[in-house]
Amino acid sequence: MDCQEFRELISDAVDERLGPGYRRTFADHAGSCRNCRNEFELERITKQVIRTRVRPATAPAEVYESLRSTIRRSPSNSQGWLGIIFGGEFLNPAVALVALLVIVVGAISLLQKNNAIPLSTEKNIIAQSINNYTATMAGILKPELVSHDPDDIKDYLSKDTPFDVSVVTLDGCDWCGGVLSNVNGVRLVHVVYKIGGEGILYVYQVNLQEAMRGERVGLPEHAKSVLAKTGWYCEQTPEGCNVVLWRHKNTLCAAVSKIEKGKMIALLSDKKP
């Protein structure tokens, strides 16, 4: 064994990985070459010092707790969007299957109708909201973030959004999610709530002044007029969806859901700032 071969084996020798054959020739060379022996000893000492003087750190208990808590509040790709929607604790498999079929049929129908545009580009806010609700139910429009904590979603959606984003704690809400988008150069916020036993509630949000100007996005005149007088506007689509519009600070919110109209207004009224 020459010095070059010896040096290549130093780490193996230090970590006690040399086979019996190599061990002998390695020891023979170390006995006859002072430089190589010293180099081996230096590396052995270094390992020993690191091993004995640098203790492996143990994560504090609060780190474990914080990890568990973060994971429980976070979405996983494994869940899938539809998996999340049907993630009820004791959801009857037959109901889930029927519901899934309805959604698949709805999605196919939607794909045929509007060529699967993920977010509606209609100028009419009510039409946009209904289209987006349908796309949400079909799994085409997916939240970028889902959480059990509304504040997580609000923080995420509020970044660079030029109006007050409303994400509230609703009674019986399993989780909420959010998406940001721009339509005709206007920033839009989309919030989705999964209300246990009731279904999905979709809420479209846009700057109130932008909506009232009506240049890039806007409302039909009658809706604008009712909203200005009462602060609320409601209508029902032929498919049985309820649409509720209201003002929140400098934001126009438009909620769409198949939740019964009275329940939906009560839900939103309770939380109306």
């Binding site: 780490s11 000492i45 994971i71 790709n77 869940q79």
Partner: protein
């Protein structure tokens, strides 16, 4: 029917959480402080959970988590940290010569150099190693992983692990020697 979300949480927690300590230790040695280590750990687990469907069941989950942490560190934290200066290997050779002349045997060297150094000095020396060397030294000398495991963790051949360890330990020794010289524990050349 069991809630699939809760089932997923439980499965992930059962598989991943037991590896928290090794990941935290690595994060601490790479970032150099507990707050950043905690953040890096959180980010790693969030990504791992998010991409849990990409993890091949039955493979080495610890190596998978480690790779996520290493990539996150490279993408996020490394940019903010100044890499240590590279060391001229000729200096190390010269240093070996000085040591050999100063000392009679290896035990004498160990006592002379490290007997008086603070644990903090040793930790600092380790944390100042270039990342690729630091990683293998941490995994081998602190965590006690085999070369084969380290190769899987850092996705490189076993031969590369071997040579990085050798060079990493030599660098470390030279840094410790510098600390000892500065503190007057060994004679200045």
């Amino acid at each position: 029917m069991i809630n699939p979300i809760k089932g997923l949480h439980k499965e992930f927690e059962k598989e991943a959480i037991p590896h928290t300590d090794i990941l935290y230790n690595y994060a601490l040695r790479m970032t150099g402080n507990a707050d950043d280590a905690h953040d890096l750990l959180q980010e790693t687990f969030l990504k791992a959970y998010r991409f849990w469907d990409k993890y091949e069941k039955g493979t080495n989950v610890r190596a998978w988590l480690f790779r996520i942490m290493k990539n996150t560190y490279i993408n996020v934290y490394r940019k903010a940290v100044k890499e240590p200066d590279t060391v001229d290997y000729n200096d190390i050779q010269n240093f070996y010569n000085i040591i050999r002349e100063d000392s009679t045997d290896a035990n004498d060297l160990q006592e002379k150099l490290f007997g008086h150094l603070l644990d903090d000095d040793i930790t600092k020396a380790l944390e100042s190693l270039p990342e690729e060397f630091r990683t293998v030294v941490i995994l081998c000398d602190i965590e006690g992983l085999t070369y084969e495991e380290i190769a899987e963790f850092v996705e490189c051949p076993v031969g590369t692990v071997r040579s990085r360890l050798h060079r990493g330990r030599k660098l470390l020794y030279s840094k410790l020697f510098e600390y000892a010289k500065k503190r007057g524990f060994v004679g200045k050349d």
